[in-house]
């Protein structure tokens, strides 16, 4: 049983729904410490001024650049006043079509669990699913303001923290790569190839093998064994060879299937 990391109340129109929040993500990243090569002592970071003199914490300020050569210094007390007020509210601004929220907005997922009455909790999840809607939510958790999407996930409520508007680079702002029209036969072959490689999405078939290998290496070195080293070389497909490569790929797939 995982521990809830926060408790809040969803304000769902006139209804309020007390919930507990759990992280849906559990990272398995390997964390290294930085060490001094010669004596293996941990590395410390310190802030220094232009003369290389260490600056004490109490003398460090934040500054906001207002133009190329001017900035405004902000005092700690001023910044503290900008901090959001603590609150348990998860306010829903509106409900939207899930298709309107792009994947690129997703930052981190949380599962919600009922805090008290499970009936209301599950009824809300069913209603979101039935209406095919996601709620746009705002809440303040541990001193930070979040924007997120409230959605039904496998019959449960999930809250996805989303990025802020100014963090996203819209694809509309970018030019479409252009060039000579693509040849029909090549398009047809590419489509055939994509179709031949079509599969059902199944996340269970992927595993972080690199991480496993790094852990094996650490293990081996801890026991005094030596690892071996290899290198690689990339080979792009030239324009003139594109059709051949497509044809060969399709032939290869056909061979595999009939075998």
């Amino acid at each position: 049983m995982a521990r809830a990391i926060w408790k809040g109340v969803i304000h769902f129109g006139k209804s309020s729904l007390p919930v507990k929040l759990y992280s849906a993500v559990q990272e398995h990243t390997i964390h290294f410490r930085l060490l001094h090569k010669s004596d293996h002592a941990p590395v410390r970071q310190e802030l220094v001024d232009e003369n290389g003199k260490p600056v004490e914490q109490k003398d460090i300020r934040m500054a906001y650049p207002v133009s190329r050569n001017r900035m405004v210094i902000l005092e700690d007390e001023e910044l503290e006043k900008l901090e959001p007020q603590a609150s348990r509210d998860i306010a829903i601004t509106r409900f939207v079509d899930p298709a309107e929220i792009d994947h690129r907005w997703y930052e981190r997922a949380y599962f919600l669990g009922p805090d008290g009455d499970p009936q209301a909790y599950f009824a809300a999840a069913v209603a979101l699913q039935k209406k095919n809607r996601e709620g746009i939510a705002r809440w303040t958790m541990r001193g930070k303001e979040y924007v997120g999407a409230l959605r039904a996930e496998d019959g449960y409520l999930a809250l996805i923290a989303l990025r802020n508007a100014d963090e996203i680079i819209d694809v509309e702002a970018l030019p479409r790569p252009s060039g000579r029209p693509l040849a029909k036969p090549e398009l047809a072959m590419a489509e055939q190839l994509v179709n031949a490689l079509a599969a059902k999405w199944d996340p269970s078939q992927f595993r972080d093998h690199y991480r496993d290998r790094v852990m094996d290496l650490i293990e081996a070195k801890a026991h005094g064994r030596k690892p071996k080293i290899v290198t690689f070389r990339p080979r792009p497909t030239g324009e003139e060879k594109l059709a051949d490569a497509l044809q060969a790929s399709l032939a290869g797939l056909r061979g595999r299937k009939s075998a």
Binding site: G13, H36, M71, L82, Q119, R133, P177, L197, P203, A245
Partner: protein
């Protein structure tokens, strides 16, 4: 390695391959860091620099003096060199090998972690356009794993408006299920309760509005800064020094992307000229 102030050149380049076709690409973040980038300064406004020192003798260290260590037990480290880590990468680690194509809508959004734009690299963008067009037409996402900067990624390659992007996905063992969390089983739910919520949802439905996504903290910060600037309080000259703590550098990522997607600033050459140039090649 800790983040070093990185210029926005592409931050990875490699090839996407599907079947025997290889598409050289460069990879750029699709998200900018927050618009507000505060810098760390001293009382007088001098930018500060971060430096690494040995915790034992206090000596300043260069990158060459530093090595990664994994703590196998308290205070006991196994050191690992860059070469050793590189050797663990798959042979074709610069290859995003699309092993399968799935329905783009099938991937549970909970898996999505971070987005990158992929731009055509190398001479021709033909294979790039071909892949993008076919994926868009079939509404498929290519799935691959690859290693970048000492970490293996599971990615979905998606196409939109002729542009490819990579969405890193979490591995399944990083996602907890409601069952693992210990959420209760779904009880019988009363229709009346569902209808009540459904009515609320209907009542408050609307279309997507960017204003729901504004960064309110950043807005308050900007107001504070503007007021201080107007009052001429604590406004200092920004010395452009070596110090740049807190990401003061503002880079126009959009322009970088535009250039790398092949947008030409100069007017296009006359068609006849272009033809001749092609023939010459």
């Amino acid at each position: 390695m800790p983040e070093q102030p990185a210029p926005v050149r592409s931050f990875w380049s490699g090839t996407i391959s599907f079947g025997l076709v290889s598409v050289p690409v460069a990879l750029f973040p699709a998200n900018r860091s927050r618009a507000v980038a505060l810098r760390m300064v001293d009382r007088k406004g001098t930018p500060l620099r971060r430096r690494y020192v040995c915790s034992k003798d206090g000596k300043e260290l260069d990158w060459d003096d530093i090595i990664r260590g994994y703590e196998v037990r308290k205070g006991k480290f196994v050191t690992v060199t860059d070469e050793e880590l590189q050797a663990l990468e798959p042979r074709k680690s610069r290859d995003i090998d699309l092993q399968m194509f799935v329905d783009a809508g099938e991937i549970d959004p909970i898996f999505f972690e971070r987005a990158y734009y992929l731009t055509p690299a190398g001479g021709s963008n033909k294979a790039y356009r071909l892949l993008a067009e076919v994926m868009e037409k079939t509404d498929r996402a290519g799935i691959a794993t690859f290693v970048m900067r000492d970490k293996e990624y599971l990615v979905a390659i998606l196409a939109e408006r002729g542009i490819l992007r990579a969405e890193t996905l979490r591995f399944q063992d990083e996602i907890r299920s409601p069952k693992e969390i210990g959420l209760p089983k779904k009880p019988e739910v009363k229709t009346a309760a569902v209808n009540k919520f459904a009515a609320e949802i209907g009542h408050h439905s609307g279309s997507f509005n960017l204003r729901d996504f504004t960064d309110r903290y950043a807005e308050r910060l900007q107001v504070l800064v503007m007021n201080k600037q107007r009052a001429g309080k604590d406004v200092v000259k920004a010395a452009s020094g070596p110090g740049d703590e807190g990401g003061g550098e503002v880079i126009d990522l959009i322009q970088v992307l535009r250039n790398s997607l092949g947008e030409r600033k100069a007017p296009k050459p006359a068609p006849r000229k272009a033809k001749r140039a092609r023939r010459a090649r």
